[in-house]
């Protein structure tokens, strides 16, 4: 009887242990308020899981390293006015630093100047604009990138090389720099040159509509330099759809989304030129953190290495990774970016 009773007591103990574990497990919050020293805000032209998402991912890594908190604000459609408004709104919450892509659009430039006036340090990434009183620029040397693209394009290519360049926006300094670098490189070869420039406004629809027409209008085009991400994703698909007579067109892309890497693997693209985006994000946070701690950046522009990914080194390349990044959209919604895009 005593043994039975002891057994029951043990049984009850196990039951209560499980019961209270369950109850306490339910009652406890898994999420704890994490303390941080600095509040930074990253206002991105695009809220996506690709290039910009990868930069944001680098910032989250840096947040954990440096005890900071970076808020990600992004847009589904690139809009300079909205960017400007978002920067202005952020100024009202007095962040310890702003990170954004430079632009020559006045709303953005003015907003960035306002930020600087409010004592908020600004780090520009991807696209520089020295008229914005920014603290530092981190990103590719876009001119060099354009030149590299031209160099790769002309090496081993059939002459004469007549290239089309797809850019995001003619007002975007980085796009201008890339185009210029590319053109300058081609001028070194007498028979090579830019046949046409397509301004796609960072719109897949525009590229899908205009690229086939461009190729039809300029049958001499035998190379395409995609100077921005969206065209880099979709150009291969369009060329495949247009038929085998366009299969000779040599494509050099920008960025390294999964689609771009697939096109390289299939031989559709010759190569892509990209940078380590996560490092870009990490450096931005680190520079702001150091600045807030009284250590200004040693250089006002930090250029990241341009990396060329072709079939030869494709095995070492991985698509953008942006898991755990939550974007604040202008309409107040949140967007989590688990999947890779541009």
């Amino acid at each position: 009887m005593k043994k039975t009773f002891n057994g029951l007591i043990m049984l009850f103990s196990v039951f209560f242990w499980i019961f209270f574990s369950t109850i306490l497990g339910f009652d406890s919050d898994n999420t704890e308020n994490i303390s941080y020293d600095h509040r930074f805000t990253f206002i991105s032209p695009f809220a996506n899981a690709g290039y910009w998402g990868s930069i944001a991912k680098g910032m989250t890594v840096a947040d954990q390293t440096f005890g900071a908190n970076t808020k990600f604000i992004g847009f589904l459609e690139s809009d300079a006015d909205s960017m400007g408004q978002a920067i202005q709104a952020e100024i009202l919450s007095c962040p310890d630093g702003l990170i954004t892509a430079g632009s020559s659009h006045p709303p953005v430039v003015n907003a960035l100047k306002d930020a600087a006036n409010a004592g908020i340090p600004v780090v520009l990434i991807d696209n520089d604009n020295r008229d914005t009183d920014r603290l530092c620029y981190i990103g590719a040397d876009n001119y060099e990138m354009g030149r590299l693209a031209g160099k790769i394009m002309t090496e081993g290519a059939r002459q004469p090389l007549r290239a089309a360049v797809i850019i995001g926006s003619s007002s975007s300094e980085n796009q201008q720099q890339r185009l210029k670098g590319f053109e300058d490189q081609l001028t070194l070869h007498p028979d090579c040159g830019v046949e046409a420039v397509l301004e796609a406004n960072y719109s897949l629809l525009t590229i899908r509509e205009m690229l086939p027409s461009l190729l039809c209008d300029h049958p001499a085009i035998n190379a395409i330099f995609c100077a921005e991400g969206y065209s880099s994703i979709i150009t291969g698909e369009i060329l495949d759809a247009m038929g085998p007579e366009y299969s000779h067109i040599r494509v050099v892309a920008s960025g390294h989304t999964a689609e771009i890497l697939d096109h390289i693997a299939s031989g559709r693209y010759h190569c892509t030129i990209t940078q380590d985006c996560e490092i870009m994000g990490q450096l931005a946070v680190e520079i702001l953190k150091n600045y807030k701690n009284g250590v200004p950046p040693k250089q006002d522009a930090i250029y990241l290495e341009n990396i060329c990914i072709s079939r030869e080194n494709l095995d070492n390349a991985a698509p953008y990774e942006s898991e755990g990044v939550t974007w604040h959209l202008p309409n107040g919604n949140l967007l989590q970016t688990p999947h890779s895009e541009n």
Binding site: M1, K2, T4, F5, L8, L11, F12, F15, F16, I18, F19, T22, I23, G25, F26, D27, D29, T31, E32, N33, I34, R39, N69, K71, Q88, A89, L92, S93, C94, P95, T326, H328, N331, G332, N333, L334
Partner: protein, 496 residues
């Protein structure tokens, strides 16, 4: 002793039942407490989740109210805000603090921190608006406050969404917990019901089985004698009451068996006593008969004895020595018969007397019959009734060798069989013998004679020996017709 009592008291049925019910009540009580506790916690968490949502809405409603008062003040000089400002701002800051403490995630945390900072800036701008002179009410500070209000307001959707997500996550966790709890309770209940059923069966067996065993054992009393009845032993586990009951029952059966045994022993003793009395009566009867016969014979034998002595003396005077010797032997024989007829004598004495008798017979039969004594005197000290051998020798002469003109042989033999503890006396003759049918008749007559006292031959000797030796002595007759007849007496005797 005390510990034994304590231990045994733990095995009582009442104790088992009490423990069983106490355990069940305890179990139900604990389960009830768990369920109530779980329900209370659930209710609390529901309220908390609802309260978080309400807190956010209150924050924005209060902010909207405050800003509309500010707008009214700036536009129309409505001074409602002057009275409500402190309270409203205090409420807003408290709400912001409560909202900031909700552990949603890092994004929410950051948004709430931004909101709180913007609220501080809004408060500062508000103070500047309220401190400015009337013509300047719609000044830069007002627009700054308006911008901040818009910025804070823009965050509502995001914050609301995040709290809703948080609530949703919590609800999912809660539902999962509820399922776990229900599963746990169900499993535990099933286990406890199973355990209860098993325990109940065991308990009922521990009560019923001993009773059944005892009942079956008691029923066995109808089928067997009490003395053959074996005590009840319970093979099943039993409680203290049943053990006591069985022990008392066994004790009662033992007492009955003991009393039965005593009654049987008393009855045996009574039977033996009765037999003894009968034997005593028979002996007394034989004695009386013998005494009577002896008395009847005493007149003539004494006359004859005196006469024989006178003749013997005369024969001696007349030099008839042979005659005188015969007469002396006859006289000695008569004296032995007269003195010892109703007495017991040592076997040696009986043999001595038999020797006198045989000497007379040798004289009588001359060379026709030869008498031989083959004696083992080991047991001759045994006491036997007097005159048991003379009739047997007489029978051997009368029915055996008496008619022989020569070659008659009578052997008197004694021998001791140490192995069987028997002294054996044999009278052997080589007479005509007895036919088997007659031999059976003689044996029957000898052993079953109803009035042995009326006979003086085999039956008399046999009856006297049986009585004297309490039925332990025996006598046998064997005969081979025309060869020999042997009468043997078996006397119980052990070497002292």
């Amino acid at each position: 002793m005390a510990s034994t009592q304590r231990k045994s008291s733990a095995d009582t049925t009442q104790r088992k039942l009490n423990t069983f019910f106490a355990q069940n009540i305890f179990f139900v009580f604990l389960l009830t407490i768990c369920t109530v506790l779980f329900c209370l916690l659930s209710d609390l968490r529901y309220r908390q989740l609802g309260h978080q949502q309400m807190e956010l809405h209150n924050f924005y409603r209060n902010l909207e109210t405050l800003h509309s008062q500010l707008t009214a003040y700036a536009a129309r000089g409505d001074d409602t805000i002057l009275k409500a400002k402190e309270t409203s701002l205090s409420c807003l800051k408290d709400s912001a603090k409560v909202l900031a403490d909700i552990p949603v995630d890092a994004v929410y945390q950051r948004d709430m921190a931004d909101t709180a900072l913007m609220l501080d800036r809004y408060s500062a701008a508000l103070d500047q608006v309220l401190s400015s002179l009337r013509p300047d009410r719609r000044n830069h500070s007002y627009y700054e406050a308006d911008s901040i209000y818009s910025a804070i307001n823009a965050g509502f959707r995001s914050l609301n969404f995040q709290i809703l997500e948080h609530t949703n996550r919590k609800m999912e966790t809660f539902q999962k917990t509820q399922r776990h709890f229900i599963t746990l309770i169900t499993l535990f209940l099933a286990f406890m019901i199973g355990a209860d059923v098993i325990y109940s069966i065991r308990l009922s067996h521990s009560i019923v089985d001993p009773i059944t065993e005892l009942t079956t054992s008691i029923q066995g009393l109808y089928l067997t004698h009490v003395e053959d009845y074996r005590e009840v032993s319970l093979f099943c586990a039993s409680n203290q009451e049943m053990n006591i009951l069985v022990s008392v029952f066994n004790s009662m059966i033992k007492t009955i068996q003991g009393q039965m045994e005593k009654i049987r022993e008393n009855a045996d003793i009574a039977i033996k006593l009765h037999q003894k009395e009968v034997e005593n009566l028979q002996i007394a009867n034989l004695l009386r008969t013998s005494q009577l016969k002896a008395l009847q014979m005493q007149i003539n034998p004494h006359f004859l004895f005196n006469t024989l002595n006178m003749i013997s003396q005369t024969a001696y005077v007349e030099d008839a020595e042979q005659t005188s010797l015969l007469l002396d032997s006859t006289a000695a024989l008569l004296r032995y018969a007269l003195d010892s007829a109703a007495r017991e004598v040592p076997l040696s004495k009986e043999m001595e007397n038999l020797g006198i008798y045989v000497s007379l017979l040798e004289h009588r039969f001359g060379g026709r019959i030869r008498f031989t004594f083959d004696l083992d005197e080991t047991f001759h000290s045994i006491t036997v009734p007097a005159l048991i051998l003379q009739p047997l020798v007489e029978n051997a002469i009368t029915h055996g060798v008496g008619m022989y003109l020569k070659g008659g042989q009578v052997t008197i033999r004694t021998q001791y069989d140490a192995e069987r503890g028997l002294g054996i006396i044999s009278i052997l003759d080589n007479g005509a013998g007895i036919e088997p049918e007659d031999l059976e008749h003689v044996r029957r007559e000898m052993k079953e004679s109803s009035h042995p006292e009326q006979k003086l031959g085999l039956s008399n000797v046999y009856a006297r020996l049986r009585i004297f030796f309490h039925n332990t002595a025996d006598m046998e007759i064997t005969s081979i017709p025309n060869v020999e007849t042997e009468v043997s007496i078996f006397l119980p005797w052990k070497i002292p």
